[in-house]
């Protein structure tokens, strides 16, 4: 992992949502750093806290404890300068565009509000950058005239219009048709190359995380349990949860007939975040759980290949 200052980082961040009578412990002491020109993937099931982390990074709401740092400086709240650097692409491109406004409205407003030239040429250039060509035609279309993939490109173009240095993608392809998902992933990869963006790719699909990213981080029930270079996380998972995730993912290559799904071990479900298990939150589902796991969250163990995990199995000494 590079030693430069991360462009955007969450340092030891905790987020609890107070709903009056209940406290939802969505995120506990999580650290995530994004670097220029690198793509980090954040993988986990729903309720793992991955979207909460992205929204904290995007300053949609304040942290309960810990800090969000932009180029090393602690961010105090969302303002225009912050959003000039950090943009988020939403999961659902049908919801993230105003259905009554043309494509160009989105891009043009973003350009104008950040003091960039907002003439047709500038708008068309951005649309062309996300492969919406002929750009002049697309600029005048309404969202309902576009396919899901095209809408997501518009959303990306709008985010790029402010010339950010960080792009956070919150499951940007999960609502798209299978056949065009790769197109959008390839676009994100190209933007990383060309613009030197720091990219966070949030997904529940670990195979696409491997395809796109340099590093993979795995979250479970609000805790970060494993991280490291993509290949080492995929090929040699250290945490039992990462292994479960990998074993659960469809993999046609594995298919020895239909045997892949025949293990009916009762694998349980993620815990409630209102009353999460103490210690490592995975312990009730973990086949290797020990007494220690039930009482305290394990410290980080680092490995030679650059990966690390928080698991007592790797902390024997």
């Amino acid at each position: 992992m590079p030693e430069e200052t991360p462009v955007l980082a969450a340092e030891d961040v905790t987020k609890h949502f107070d709903t009056g009578r209940q406290t939802v412990r969505a995120l506990e002491n999580v650290t995530l750093r994004l670097y220029r020109g690198r793509i980090a993937a954040l993988v986990g099931e729903s309720g793992s806290g991955k979207t909460t982390l992205a929204r904290l990074l995007a300053q949609f709401y304040p942290v309960t404890s810990g800090e969000i740092r932009l180029r090393g400086e602690v961010v105090s709240g969302p303002d225009k300068d912050f959003y000039g650097e950090v943009q988020l692409v939403f999961q659902d491109p049908f919801a993230s565009l105003n259905s009554l406004r043309k494509v160009e409205h989105n891009v043009r407003r973003a350009l104008k509000l950040h003091g960039h030239a907002a003439d047709d040429a500038a708008v068309h250039e951005l649309l062309a950058k996300v492969n919406l060509t002929p750009a002049a035609d697309f600029a005048r279309k309404l969202p309902h005239e576009l396919s899901g993939g095209q809408r997501q490109r518009v959303a990306i173009a709008r985010a790029l219009a402010v010339r950010p240095s960080v792009l956070l993608g919150d499951e940007p392809i999960s609502m798209l048709d299978v056949s065009i998902r790769l197109d959008v992933l390839n676009l994100l990869a190209r933007l990383r190359e060309e613009e030197g963006l720091a990219l966070l790719y949030i997904t529940h699909d670990i195979a696409s995380a491997r395809y796109l990213s340099d590093d993979i981080y795995v979250m479970y029930a609000g805790q970060m349990v494993e991280g490291g270079p993509a290949e080492s996380v995929i090929q040699e998972p250290k945490h039992p949860y990462t292994r479960l995730l990998l074993d659960s993912s469809p993999d046609p290559e594995r298919a020895g007939g239909s045997s892949a799904f025949t293990a009916t071990a009762k694998l349980g479900e993620p815990p409630s975040l209102v009353d999460p298990p103490p210690g490592c939150r995975f312990h009730p589902r973990c086949p290797f759980a020990k007494e220690q796991c039930k009482t305290s969250f394990p410290p980080r163990t680092e490995f030679a290949d650059g990966s690390w995990t928080n698991c007592w199995l790797h902390n024997e000494s």
């Binding site: 959003y83 993230s96 259905s99 989105n106 407003r109 509000l113």
Partner: protein, 281 residues
């Protein structure tokens, strides 16, 4: 089709409201003009809709009444819509304490019965001309609309596109007026029509109770006067037209609202289902 009929009726009454006085002059009739030769006469060649017990022309009264009823309806509608937009959208968009206070007030006005409340205020106010009545009705009739708009705004505010526009630094006023309000156009127009009808009905109700000013004619005052005399004398031509006008205008707004509902909730479109039944039959 339904919508076109509805719009047609609304346009018809609006035109009558505007050109009413000239129309009466043109036909040589007037709401106060007394024809001593034709007192309490049923509809006929001389007086198309007959005359009242004082010998005034019912048609002329209807035409003159259209203006006042429409004025009450539209003034109350405009006031009600403005109030419901301001209260509903503000509560929905800003949320938090602002919402808590505004929602409480809205819910309160929602459960207070409008007619007795209007009546109390109208009873104390000395001037009971159409504009005053319209003001009072508008002032008390906005709550249902505000509630709907609040819920709609709340759901819009939570949509990703609003968050996305906020992230590119869009200002709050532009966010409300450019991004959010246009989505509410359907609701607002439906609400306006609803308020217009409610106000016309309420005005007629007040007039019926005797809360009106002596020198104005509206559909309601015609019914009120007719009730006292016409009923016992069997002068149906006197009290039937004003109620029918209210019902017609109300049906028209209902028909237009049908169309608006179908645009906003595509499931309500019955045309496609009919087409399917036809095709399969």
């Amino acid at each position: 089709m339904k919508v076109r009929i509805g719009i047609g009726i609304i346009v018809f009454f609006s035109v009558i409201a505007i050109i009413g006085p000239w129309l009466n002059d043109l036909m040589g009739i007037g709401p106060w003009k007394i024809d001593y030769d034709a007192i309490a006469e049923p509809p006929g060649a001389g007086h198309l809709l007959g005359t009242t017990s004082q010998g005034t022309d019912v048609l002329a009264q209807m035409i003159a009444g259209t203006r006042n009823s429409m004025v009450v309806g539209s003034v109350a509608g405009v006031i009600g819509v403005i109030l419901s937009v301001v209260v509903g959208v503000t509560a929905g968009f800003f949320g938090g304490k602002v919402d808590a206070v505004l929602s409480f007030v809205t819910n309160m006005f929602l459960v207070l019965p409008v007619l007795p409340l209007t009546l109390i205020v109208a009873g104390y106010v000395q001037d009971t001309g159409p504009i005053t009545i319209a003001l009072i009705i508008g002032l008390f009739g906005w709550a249902a609309g505000a509630r709907t708009l609040r819920a709609q705004t709340l759901s819009l505010r939570g949509r990703d596109f609003v968050m996305a526009m906020r992230m590119i630094g869009e200002s709050k006023p532009r966010m409300i007026f450019v991004e959010v309000l246009p989505h509410l156009a359907g609701w607002i127009s439906a609400m306006f029509l609803h308020l217009v009808l409610a106000a016309i009905l309420a005005e007629a109700g007040l007039a019926f109770l005797g809360v009106s000013s002596a020198d104005t004619i509206s559909w309601g005052t015609v019914i009120d006067q007719a009730r006292q005399v016409a009923l016992l004398n069997g002068m149906w031509w006197w009290f039937v037209p004003p109620g029918l006008c209210i019902a017609l205008l109300g049906t028209a707004t209902g028909l237009v609202n049908f169309g608006i509902d179908e645009v906003m909730n595509p499931r309500l479109r019955t045309a496609d289902i009919k087409a399917m039944r036809k095709a399969l039959a």
